[in-house]
Symmetry: C2
């Protein structure tokens, strides 16, 4: 239904060029801020300031919050100080902090200069926390209730202060020293008698998080306990802010995409793919490709050192891709499983032996079944059907035994390397598939040639 | 703070064996349902029914909802009909529907038999939708307001019916035919005058989703527009249910883990890794490993058909792993990027040319830089430092040119194959890294030997 009303970038340009500005404003007013922000992505940048000025004040601030960093920077450059002040007044504090973190120093100075003294103090306070910590992403705009209030008084407080708060659905009960005592939900307030006391109604057994904890931990807690908001406390258990569920969803997305990138050997970036310049994409990918390529040359040396054997039984080369790929795939299966389980907190470092023991058994089952399959395939297809005289039963044994052993080693490395990485403080996702493939390649070739020399008669 | 009070599985067994049941009940009462559900995972199954019976009625139902399917099935087997009825009465309808979908037929019959006639009708209604559709995951427990109500009347409705609803923070305004007209938030109600009319307050420009749409679409809409709840409508735009934000987070997690599994060539499963039996893990992994292994034998055939060339210049073999790995990694980078962007809706099918054009340019830059690096490395290390007489300048040219071309082909296949998969209705995630690696392996070897024959003098 709404789709028909949706403005496209060419509509905006047409209406603007035709100076039908009030029509444009009316139609933009019916759109959601997220869709308007998307419209800016399609719109040539020279139209940005004029189109932005057409938006209503509150809507403009919300659209601004949704926009990409580079557009925001050029928009700010086009703002007068008064315009900038207007936008900043309408924005939530945590969004302003995000903005300050993204902008270059000269823009930050303008932002700080145009904030109210109170906001300035709060922004500086929030900037003290690392950007990826609970303190760095929290907002300070929440409803605080004193435990001595009645329900009617609490509802009056919400009516008075609630309009500027990110959420009024969870209210935080504190003592006079701002220590967090408990929470009451708006649902509890609405469903209770007017003269009930907040202190009696509040839930005291609550989940909170320290300011310096990782944002990922915050998102995990909110997911596990289905929380709409998570209170953030300082070391003295004083309430300093809250994290809302929409921030949690953003964190989940951000951390997931980071993991996907790292696992594919790409430096993570927050810019949308279609808008990232080619040179930037190249820069995010090339160091990993180069590193992996150089590592792979070690595998080449292993082959070189068995050159004599290879020239005696050239058919051995034909099985190299299959052995390398299967080893790589087996290792990836284990590493991706373990990396995700570590990321989600389902597996901890102390589980390393449970994980290894599970993977060893899976690896033995996979090794035996694939080894048998490969042996059968080599004997049936290459030996019997295709009558390749070089493919002897010794070659088939060599291939099957190598597969079996490679899978075992690949799965062990695949499950233990991410745990080891976490143990020494690295992100497990960086030792994902590509690196494990490179290591497993080298090992599988070593195993292959060693077995070949033992099994195949006359091989030097 | 809460950690100290937390019961461990051995605490539960100890207290139960010592018959200190009221102490156990009191301590369990202070724990969150999610943590109690986790406790059941650690606890031997013979303790389950007795421990479960100790929990307070409402808590028991919530714990039950959080538990894994196999434990729920064995618990239900231990319940009397009266106990089952009690649990079902306390559960939200969408959770009951999930339960019905998970349980075997005989258990489902008991569940249906012990539901109220009203719930039975609603359950049957919800079961008509596919489990992964918006209709399949929605709940029918929401607050419906008539547009003629005043704010005071609406608040009275919420106080009367709200206690059993999943959320009261978004209320849905409908006409008498249940057509969805708009929404009002509890925040709007609390911040408005008592005699304002709901019809005037409501937001009419709202996002909704059809019952048969994919749950992933629902989660994407809720993420994009930061919605706490999403109304689900039938084909006549009548409101039939809502999806709440905690369900959206679960969907995001479920779909992400599915993508991670598929990309690592593993059949997705919802059972936690540490609790999945070894045979099940094997079964989820072996078909893909086998399929990929058999596909890799084609690569072997390519090598076999160039056997004469290889036996003439054995050193060519040494570069095979490096060429295959770099091709595979280049392809993975592109495929993972495109698959995630398709999954998140950031790239659509119509963007195929924009994606391909971007990847072509990135590929040319990567190809030239890695080709140059490889040429330099081969000439410097292998030729000059290690004095390998077999590594001639022709070999170096062959390796560099193959790299360049392989990267281009790998990135093109990597970006276009997922789009093609989506186009023909497949999940893009299944054509991820492992499959692309297998295809790229074969192509890179073909390129390698073709170039070698052209560049290296005297190669047959």
């Amino acid at each position: 239904m709404e789709e028909e009303k949706m403005l496209t970038a060419s509509d905006v340009m047409e209406l603007m060029d035709a100076r039908r500005l009030s029509e444009l404003r009316a139609r933009a007013d019916e759109m959601r801020v997220e869709d308007i922000a998307e419209l800016f992505r399609e719109l040539p940048e020279e139209y940005h300031p004029r189109f932005f000025r057409l938006l209503h004040k509150e809507k403009a601030a919300e659209v601004f919050t949704e926009m990409d960093a580079d557009f925001r920077e050029s928009l700010i450059a086009s703002f007068t100080d008064a315009e900038l002040k207007n936008i900043l007044d309408e924005m939530f504090l945590d969004d302003t902090v995000d903005l300050v973190e993204e902008m270059p120093a000269n823009v930050v100075q303008r932002i700080i200069a145009n904030s109210t003294p109170e906001d300035r103090r709060a922004i500086n306070e929030l900037l003290k926390y690392p950007p990826d910590s609970a303190g760095g992403i929290m907002t300070t705009e929440f409803v605080r209730l004193n435990k001595t209030l009645t329900v009617a008084e609490a509802l009056a407080v919400i009516r008075r202060v609630g309009v500027n708060k990110e959420t009024i659905y969870t209210c935080y009960v504190t003592d006079n020293m701002r220590h967090l005592l408990g929470i009451v939900s708006a649902k509890d307030l609405l469903l209770s008698a007017e003269d009930d006391c907040i202190g009696d109604l509040m839930e005291e057994n609550i989940i909170s998080i320290g300011t310096l904890e990782d944002q990922e931990t915050a998102a995990q807690l909110m997911t596990k306990y289905s929380l709409m908001a998570l209170p953030v406390v300082d070391t003295e258990h004083r309430l300093v802010g809250i994290i809302t569920v929409d921030d949690a969803i953003d964190i989940i997305h951000e951390e997931t995409e980071e993991d996907f990138s790292k696992m594919a050997a790409i430096t993570p970036t927050e810019t949308p793919y279609l808008r990232t310049p080619v040179a930037r994409i190249w820069l995010n990918r090339i160091p990993w490709l180069a590193l992996l390529m150089v590592s792979a040359t070690f595998t080449g040396w292993i082959i070189s050192s068995f050159e004599t054997a290879l020239s005696q039984v050239v058919v051995l080369t034909a099985f190299i891709p299959m052995l390398m790929d299967t080893g790589g795939n087996s290792g990836s299966q284990s590493s991706v499983t373990v990396i995700r389980n570590l990321s989600l907190g389902e597996v901890t470092l102390s589980d390393w032996w449970r994980v290894a023991w599970k993977e060893i058994r899976v690896a033995i089952m996979c090794g035996i079944s694939l080894g048998a399959l490969a042996f059968g395939k080599v004997m049936l297809v290459d030996h019997l059907i295709m009558h390749n005289p070089a493919v002897t039963i010794s070659v088939a044994w060599t291939v099957a035994a190598t597969l079996c052993l490679t899978i075992l080693i690949a799965k062990l490395i695949g499950c233990l390397l991410p745990i080891l990485a976490r143990r020494i403080g690295l992100d497990p996702a960086v030792v994902a598939s590509p690196f494990i493939t490179t290591i497993v390649d080298a090992i599988s070739l070593l195993v292959y040639f060693t077995i070949a020399k033992t099994v195949i008669p006359g091989l030097a």
